[in-house]
Structure formats: structure tokens, C-alpha cells
């Protein structure tokens, strides 16, 4: 295979969730002969079950296609399938940095959504050429004209040559392939004779191959047996495999300038590979490393506890296994009085958190109690120190605090205008500051600054319910700002329940405290005594509920024959108590805490 740069096209597919990106990718692969019809499972690129089921892409994937264009020339097309969701925008930005162009997929029935915008702006930031593709035109509700207008009005992209297509039926696929060749540029640079220079795009752990590294070669070659150097981590390794995905693994002798593929180099842990690193030849290194990427930072934290405390070790192992392929997952041991031993975990965002929880439960068969998600606060102490607070439980004494800063986000919401009122109110309630409000047709685009803390709680669920699912939402982190934040404690019979402590804005404390107390009142079974449930800031009680004592709980009839039955019932009751936590005289079933922690229906 020749290494003519002009015959290579590296491109990404970007889209809002559910706009048919993976199906379209499948169709491109199939059309180029990468897979026989019988090999086509739906969405071959989403290899995790959870990806296929939820219709989302979590990990970036790359596939090499061979396309014979109308001009008779065979082109090498390297397709990157990127995650659509905001939580994985870090992965998106990585993928985009290794391509020169993008196909922007927009659903012909849905139009431009918040993630479409976010991804498109990232592509533009990476100097991509962009081909708009209006997908799902086989559906009766498809409105190509309207969507094209939206692409122009909302995104500001010329949509006059947008390609109407359908990943499902195959309509427009040839036009799309032709457009990739004619409209997207070949790799900008690439010198066969220069020292090896390649970008480490991603890496993951494969049980058979060890760590697999996804690369984009800039200059020179990567060959089997070559001694390579990772410029940032300064490690040297020998390449033992070079290959590409078609999407099947295909081993090659080498990868040349402009090409994408994978290498393995006897690496056992992904922590040894730094995404964004520059790979060069050990003996003949390039002069300058590539710019690389910013490391991903976990933004949302929650604690995970096993319901069955004996599963703590299993949870630890399982998190370790997930972290093998997910460098953005952070976790640390935590011990809670209410919930036992568990882990404080850091996630890129809410979806990331949900996916990790789901994978732990499904792939590792764990029953988990997640605490309410929270964010990282910056606590500035009067002595000038700044500490990062990951867990409300660790909040230092109020007197030693000068100020607390919380992370903010810039949120973009796209919604049919009939739901605008409700969404404005939601943003207002969540301490939002409006930055922009614009219209395109009957759709409104809302840009708000919001404290991240207000968003992790149940913002997304509320947004979806207010807009009946029609509004879309995306955000980017927008710095820290001080605010009047306090730690609110929940007490049961005067004893704090650590798992329910939270940092809230003072103005929200009473409302949140009352809601939580009311909820606990519903959830805690009545006991022989009355129970005081309180929310407190420092020593001050801001909300209180009293759970009255159980008035009657006794078996009316019990004679000789019932003794065995009665004892068995008691034994059952005692077994249930293993899941109880003691608060003074009061025993609270763990399930009460679990349900109090459940978000969404607060």
C-alpha cells in the first residue's frame, strides 16, 4: 500500500445522542466491504453491551475503510466514531484532534440539538472541514428542508450541500462517501522520511493483547519490532504488533504518515500510557513533541457502597477492573456510619456516573447504594490554605473557613419554545444566570451559567420532564466562584446521618432540608418511640419532622399452635435487622437511606 497522503482521509462522525451515528457508521463499513452482511451486528462499533443498549458510544473507535471513488482511485478512509455525550467531550476532543474532517449527523426528524452544537464547535476549533449529513430521511416525519435551515441558523454552517441520507436504508451513502473524498482534506502534513512522530489517541486493556494503543501517525513509520519512546512518560518499549481495525483486527507491517491504527508493545496497564503522548523512535527521535491534551478531570463525585457489606472487596476489584479501561474513573476508600465501607468515586459527569454504576451492577453483579452526587468545592481557609473538598463529610470547621467556591458550568439548552417558560424557571430556581436567549424558527436556544452542584442533583430529569423530553442540554465547565455555601446535616434523634450530609447554597438549604426530612419521615418505619428528623446547619435546626411512635404492633391471637410460626416471624425480623443501622434507640433500615438518596423524585 502506498503512503500517498492525498489518498488518505481521516474523519470523525459527530452527532447528538440517538441521531443515528453508529448505524450510519455501520452502513459506511458495510458499503466499503469491511464486513459481510452476515457479520453485521447492529452497531458494530459499540462493543460494550451497555453502549449498544443505551444507543450511546462511550469509547472512541477507529475503522479503516477502502473506498474506490468515482475517479477510479482507491482511498483509505479512517473513520472515528466518537462519543456524543457531554461527559465524554474529552474523548471527543481527542478523537477530533486526530482527524482533519467531520461528518455532522443531524436527525431529519429532530433537528439540531444541544450536543450537536457542542460537538460542532469542537470540530470547528480543530479546524475541521465539516460535511453536514441529514440522517433518517426514510422516516415519515423527516423534514430535510427545515433541518437544513436549522443547521444554517443555529450552527451557522452552510447546509446547501448537506447530504440527505439514511443509515438504516442505505439512501445517500454513496453520495456521502464521495463527499468524504472530495470535500474533506487529506492529512495536512506527513513526511515519510522524517523521524517517527505519532499521537497516542487512546488506549485500552484487552485481556489477550494487553494494552492496545490507538495511534495516528504524523511523520515516519511505526513498525513491528521497532523500539519506540513515549516522549512524555519517557518510557521505551518495543512494538510487538501493528495493525488496523476493519473493524476486525488486521495485523500489518507498518503504519505510515497520515494513517491511523493500533500498536501493542507489551504494556500491562493503561496507567502506563498517557493519552495525548507523542510516540517516536527511540534511536532517532523527533525534535518536538505534539501539543497533547489536557488531562480529564472528574467533575462529579458520589460514594458507592455495597448493600451487602461482605461485597466490599468485590466492589474494590470491580472498580479496579473498570479503571483499567477508564482513566477518568477515580476512586478512594470511604467509611460511612450509615452505609458501611465503600468508595468515594469521581466521574466526568452524570452519565459517566450512571454508566459506571450500571456496569458494576450488571457486569460484576453488585448491589450498590450510591449517595447523592456532589461536586468538588474549593475551601479557602482563613490561614490562606485552599483545600479541595470531595466529600461533604470532610468539611472543616466553619470558623476556619474564609470562603467556599463552587464549580460553575455554561449550559446550552435547545428547546421548542412552548417549554421555554418552564425551563427559564428551572434555571432560575437553580441559581442560574442567563447569558443568552435566541430563537431559530420555533426553537429557542438558551445559554445559562449554572452552579454544577445544582445540575448534578436532578436538573437533567427535571429538564426532560418539563420539556416532555424535547429539550436537549449540554454544558462545559466554566470556572469556580465563591458563594454562600453551607454544609447541611440530617440528624435522626440528634445523631447526624453522614451519608445524607450535603453542601448547599444557604438560600436552598431550608427547602432541600425540608424535602429530605419529609422524605425520611415517609421512609423510616415507625418505631416504639417518636423520632425527630432534623436538618441542621452548624448547630441551627432549619427543618424538622417528627415521626410519631407506632401505636400498635402486636399479634392479636397467639396460642399454643402459633408459637413456631411466631418464632419464625421473629427470626425473619431479626435477619432483616442486619441491614439496620442504629441511631440511639432507633433502628433505621438501610433501605430508608437508599431511597432517600435516590434522585429525581425529590
Amino acid at each position: 500500500m502506498s503512503h500517498k497522503l492525498e489518498h488518505i482521509r481521516n474523519f470523525a462522525i459527530i452527532a447528538h445522542i440517538d441521531h443515528g451515528k453508529s448505524t450510519l457508521a455501520d452502513r459506511l463499513i458495510q458499503t466499503c466491504g469491511g464486513l459481510e452482511e452476515r457479520d453485521m451486528k447492529q452497531q458494530v462499533l459499540d462493543s460494550m453491551d451497555i453502549e449498544r443498549e443505551r444507543g450511546i458510544t462511550i469509547k472512541a473507535q477507529t475503522v479503516r475503510l477502502i473506498y474506490k471513488a468515482k475517479n477510479g482511485i482507491e482511498y483509505q478512509l479512517n473513520l472515528m466514531d466518537t462519543p456524543g455525550h457531554v461527559d465524554f467531550s474529552y474523548e471527543v476532543s481527542r478523537s477530533l484532534a486526530s482527524c482533519e474532517g467531520s461528518i455532522l449527523v443531524v436527525d431529519a426528524t429532530q433537528g439540531v440539538e444541544a450536543q450537536t452544537l457542542a460537538n460542532v464547535y469542537q470540530a470547528i476549533d480543530n479546524n475541521h472541514e465539516i460535511i453536514p449529513a441529514i440522517n433518517k430521511i426514510d422516516l415519515p416525519a423527516a423534514d430535510v428542508e427545515k433541518v437544513a435551515t436549522e443547521i444554517e441558523d443555529v450552527i451557522g454552517l452552510d447546509a446547501s450541500e448537506a447530504i440527505p441520507c439514511s443509515g438504516k436504508s442505505g439512501l445517500g451513502i454513496d453520495e456521502l462517501l464521495e463527499a468524504i473524498v472530495t470535500k474533506l482534506p487529506p492529512p495536512h502534513e506527513g513526511d515519510i522520511n522524517a523521524p517517527t512522530k505519532a499521537l497516542l489517541v487512546d488506549s485500552w486493556y484487552d485481556p489477550y493483547l494487553g494494552v492496545v494503543i490507538l495511534v495516528r501517525v504524523i511523520d515516519g513509520f511505526l513498525k513491528k519490532g521497532q523500539k519506540i519512546k513515549f516522549m512524555n512518560s519517557k518510557t521505551v518499549r518495543e512494538i510487538d504488533r501493528v495493525g488496523i481495525f476493519t473493524p476486525k483486527h488486521v495485523l500489518l507491517d507498518e503504519l505510515g504518515p497520515g494513517e491511523m491504527g493500533f500498536i501493542t508493545a507489551g504494556i500491562k496497564e493503561i496507567s502506563e500510557t498517557q493519552v495525548g503522548d507523542t510516540i517516536t523512535d527511540d534511536k532517532n527521535p523527533c525534535h518536538e513533541a505534539l501539543a497533547g491534551f489536557k488531562p480529564s478531570i472528574p467533575m462529579v463525585f458520589c460514594s458507592l457502597f455495597p448493600i451487602d457489606s461482605s461485597e466490599y472487596e468485590k466492589l474494590k476489584d470491580s472498580l479496579g477492573k473498570l479503571a483499567l479501561n477508564d482513566s477518568s474513573l477515580h476512586f478512594e476508600t470511604e467509611s460511612s456510619q450509615a452505609l458501611g465501607m465503600g468508595f468515594r468515586c469521581g466521574f466526568l459527569g452524570l452519565l459517566h456516573m450512571e454508566i459506571i454504576q450500571e456496569r458494576l451492577e450488571r457486569e460484576f453483579d453488585l448491589d450498590l447504594i450510591p449517595t447523592a452526587p456532589s461536586v468538588v468545592y474549593h475551601i479557602y481557609k482563613t490561614n490562606g490554605d485552599m483545600i479541595e473538598l470531595y466529600n461533604p463529610v470532610d468539611m472543616p470547621d466553619i470558623v476556619s473557613i474564609d470562603r467556599i467556591e463552587e464549580p460553575w458550568i455554561k449550559a446550552t439548552i435547545l428547546t421548542p419554545d412552548e417549554y421555554l417558560g418552564g425551563l427559564l424557571q428551572l434555571c432560575q430556581e437553580r441559581r442560574g444566570e442567563q447569558i443568552e436567549l435566541t430563537y431559530a424558527g420555533n426553537r429557542a436556544m438558551l445559554v445559562y451559567r449554572l452552579p454544577l452542584n445544582e445540575v448534578v442533583f436532578d436538573f437533567y430529569d427535571r429538564l426532560k420532564s418539563i420539556s416532555r423530553g424535547y429539550a436537549s442540554f449540554d454544558y462545559e465547565i466554566d470556572g469556580y466562584a465563591p458563594n454562600d455555601l453551607v454544609k447541611m446535616e440530617i440528624r435522626v434523634n440528634n445523631e447526624p446521618v453522614d451519608a445524607l450530609s450535603m453542601i448547599v447554597h444557604r438560600s436552598q438549604a431550608e427547602y432541600r432540608g425540608r424535602a429530605l426530612c419529609e422524605r425520611l419521615k415517609e421512609l423510616i418505619p415507625r418505631q416504639m418511640f417518636k423520632i425527630a428528623i432534623q436538618a441542621a446547619i452548624g448547630g441551627k435546626i432549619i427543618a424538622r419532622e417528627t415521626l410519631s411512635a407506632l401505636r400498635k404492633d402486636v399479634t392479636a391471637k397467639c396460642y399454643g399452635g402459633d408459637i413456631s410460626r411466631k418464632r419464625k416471624l421473629l427470626e425473619k425480623q431479626k435477619k432483616g435487622k442486619k441491614k439496620m443501622r442504629q441511631y440511639g434507640n432507633v433502628e433505621i433500615p438501610q433501605s430508608a437511606f437508599i431511597n432517600a438518596l435516590k434522585m429525581g423524585d425529590n
Partner: protein
């Protein structure tokens, strides 16, 4: 503690004229019952248990059911005579019969008395015809009053049952009903709160939403009202649902609650007695025809002779003992468990309960307060060690 020479005898007659919708007892509606055959089988099973409990003396006999008043009196007589000839009975033996207030049955009261029955417990349930219809009872309030009058003449002692906490029953309704019922009271009344048991007709109806039951708050209120009215009337409670003048308590049931020994004869009857230092639990086969066959073949229908562990004995003793106003001696718990009561009851929790006024100790006796008795299930769950 009860003298371990004493033993109580329970005889189960499993037949009824009709099945009441709230009842989950082992009862069957049957047309042709061969009374002679039943008497013979009872005698056989009595002989079987006698071999295991020789040397004991019978302090009470209880004919329960089902509806044992449907029995022909010669069956009761034959059973009583058999018991006398095997174990022998104490001087103040209590011989109770459960009866329904229908004319077929109260007309036989005098014959039952002649057979040796000296106490009758009548399933009145209510003195309101509408409530009786809801409860699926075949008798009227008038029948009930008549039955009580005849019972008072025929037997040394009588008691009757009432059911309250019926759907939509208010505190005011219940007060009136109870006041009225008390005008017919003798020395003993059992007052039960309606509970919906699995497998009953009411359970199906309740699940279907045909009616609702009172919540625990309302139920609790009615319970408290019952306690105070009965007390004023001189019939204080001695057990959760049982009220009596002093000395009029049911001796037989007290054996259960004091965790004494008892033998159960008849289909589905339970027994618990000590053999060679071990407490044995027996359980008769529930189906009448199989019970008869088994007894005729082997002398006994119980398919399990479960040895109750020392710890479980202590738990059972505590569980039953705390149903009683008199409470239970801690030494009794230790006698059953063979170890310190602290192995059974969490001492810290007991301290808590004393502080909160749920229990008190008088010398060695653990006494539940009335607020503890009405929350006993929670209390037990709380007190017991893990």
C-alpha cells in the same frame, strides 16, 4: 414457674357448619362425620402421647376447633374419661369447650356439662346482626344472648369472643358495642382485633379492594379504648386480647403463655412438652382423613418431633411471657436457655426500654407496661440479641 409435673391437653375438632371468612384455623366443612370413629382415634392418639408423658398430671383440657360444640357430647365425655384414666387430673381441672351460639349447639350445653365440661367459650363476635353478617356468622345477636344465658346456667364459667376494628368502625361505635356486650359478660371475655390472614376469604376480598382495614393508628386507638373500658368494668386484661376478673383467667391458655407443657391431639394440633429434658414440638397432620388413617395405623399423626434448641426455648418463653401483664421471670428465661438472659436479651437495649418506660423489673420479673404490650412485636424485635 409452672410445676413441670403439670400438663395441658388440647383436642382439635376440625369441623364447622361453614367457614368464616376471617378464620385461618384448621377447619373443614363436612357433612357426615362418624363421631364414634373420631372418639376412637382421639383415644388412640391420647394413648400414644401418654407413653411419652407418663407421670404428669393434667391441669386443663381444651376442646378447640373448628367448632367442637358440633361434637356429640359422648365424644367429649369419652375423651375426658380417657384422660382421667391415663394421666389423671388435678382437683381444679379446667375443661373448656369452644361453642357457637346456634340452637343446635346451646341445646347440647347441659349434656356437655354432664360430660365433664366446666367452662365454655362462645364465639359471639358481635351483638350487631349487620356485623355478624359481614363476619359470615350464621347466628343472630338474639342467638348469642340466648346461648350466653344457657351457658351461664349450664357451666361453672363462661367466656365469649368479640371482634373489633371492623372496616369503618369508629371509636364511638366500638364504645357503644362494647358497653352493650359487657352487660352479658361473665368473668372472662376475649376481645380480638380483626386481622386479615392469608388464605382466608377476607384476604382475597381485601386484596381485591372490597374493603379496607383500620390503620394501626385507628386500631391502636380502639385497643386503648378497650383496655380502659374493660378495666373500669372490672375485667382488666391479663393478656393482649384476654380480659378476666381475678382468678377467672383461662388456665389452659395461661399454660401456653407461661410456656408450660401441653399436648395437642387432633388434626393440625400442636404440642410442646418435655421428654428427657428436651422440649419437643409436635404437629398433627392437618387433613382430617389422613389424620384418622395415620392415627389408626401408628397411633400418632405427628410427622415431626422437633427438638427445640435451648436458645429457641428461651426466645419462645420470652415471646409468650411478655404477652402477659404479669411478665416473665428472667430466671425462667435462663432456665430455658441454660445460660444468662443476656445471651437472649440485649442488656443495653433492655436498659433503654426501662428508661423509656416500656418494661420494668420487679425483683427477678420482667414486666411489660401496657404501651409495650400493644407494641410487642416491635419490642421483641428490638430486645432480642442478634
Amino acid at each position: 414457674m409452672p410445676d413441670n409435673k403439670n400438663i395441658a391437653l388440647y383436642i382439635h375438632w376440625p369441623f364447622c357448619v361453614s367457614k368464616c371468612p376471617y378464620c385461618d384455623f384448621n377447619s373443614f366443612v363436612a357433612q357426615d362425620v362418624n363421631h364414634r370413629e373420631w372418639l376412637d382415634a382421639y383415644k388412640k392418639e391420647l394413648e400414644y402421647y401418654y407413653e411419652l408423658t407418663k407421670g404428669k398430671i393434667v391441669t386443663s383440657i381444651f376442646f378447640g376447633g373448628g367448632t367442637p360444640s358440633l361434637m356429640q357430647p359422648f365424644v367429649a365425655e369419652g375423651v375426658i374419661d380417657k384422660i382421667v384414666s391415663l394421666w389423671g387430673i388435678c382437683d381444679d381441672v379446667e375443661v373448656s369447650l369452644e361453642a357457637n351460639p346456634s340452637s343446635v349447639e346451646y341445646d347440647k350445653f347441659i349434656d356437655f356439662a354432664a360430660a365433664g365440661i366446666n367452662r365454655v367459650s362462645i364465639g359471639v363476635q358481635s351483638f350487631d346482626d349487620r356485623q355478624l353478617a359481614f363476619l359470615g356468622r350464621k347466628h343472630s345477636a338474639e342467638d348469642a344472648i340466648k346461648a350466653i344465658k344457657i351457658a351461664a346456667k349450664s357451666f361453672d364459667r363462661y367466656s365469649f369472643d368479640l371482634i373489633y376494628a371492623l372496616p369503618e368502625q369508629t371509636a364511638c361505635d366500638w364504645k357503644k358495642s362494647l358497653d352493650n356486650a359487657l352487660s352479658y359478660a361473665g368473668g372472662h371475655i376475649s376481645v380480638y382485633q380483626l386481622t386479615i390472614e392469608k388464605g382466608t376469604d377476607f384476604y382475597t376480598k381485601y386484596r381485591r379492594g372490597d374493603f379496607t382495614v383500620l390503620d394501626d393508628d385507628c386500631g391502636g386507638e380502639l385497643y386503648e379504648i378497650t383496655q380502659s373500658i374493660m378495666e373500669q368494668y372490672g375485667l382488666p386484661s391479663y393478656e393482649i386480647s384476654n380480659h378476666a376478673k381475678k382468678g377467672e383467667e383461662s388456665k389452659h391458655n395461661m399454660t401456653y403463655w407461661r410456656y408450660g407443657d401441653y399436648i395437642g391431639v387432633g388434626p393440625g394440633a400442636h404440642g410442646r412438652f418435655i421428654v428427657n429434658g428436651e422440649k419437643i414440638a409436635t404437629k398433627g397432620h392437618r387433613a382430617p382423613d389422613i389424620w384418622i388413617k395415620k392415627v389408626n395405623k401408628t397411633g400418632c399423626s405427628s410427622h415431626e418431633f422437633e427438638v427445640i434448641s435451648r436458645k429457641d426455648r428461651a426466645i419462645e418463653a420470652l415471646m409468650m411471657g411478655l404477652r402477659l401483664k404479669e411478665g416473665i421471670p428472667l430466671s425462667r428465661i435462663e432456665l430455658e436457655s441454660g445460660s444468662s438472659w443476656k445471651e437472649i436479651i440485649n442488656p443495653d437495649k433492655m436498659e433503654n426500654m426501662i428508661k423509656e418506660g416500656f418494661v420494668s423489673t420487679k425483683e427477678d420479673i420482667l414486666i411489660p407496661s401496657s404501651k409495650a404490650i400493644q407494641r410487642l412485636d416491635s419490642l421483641l424485635g428490638y430486645l432480642l440479641t442478634e
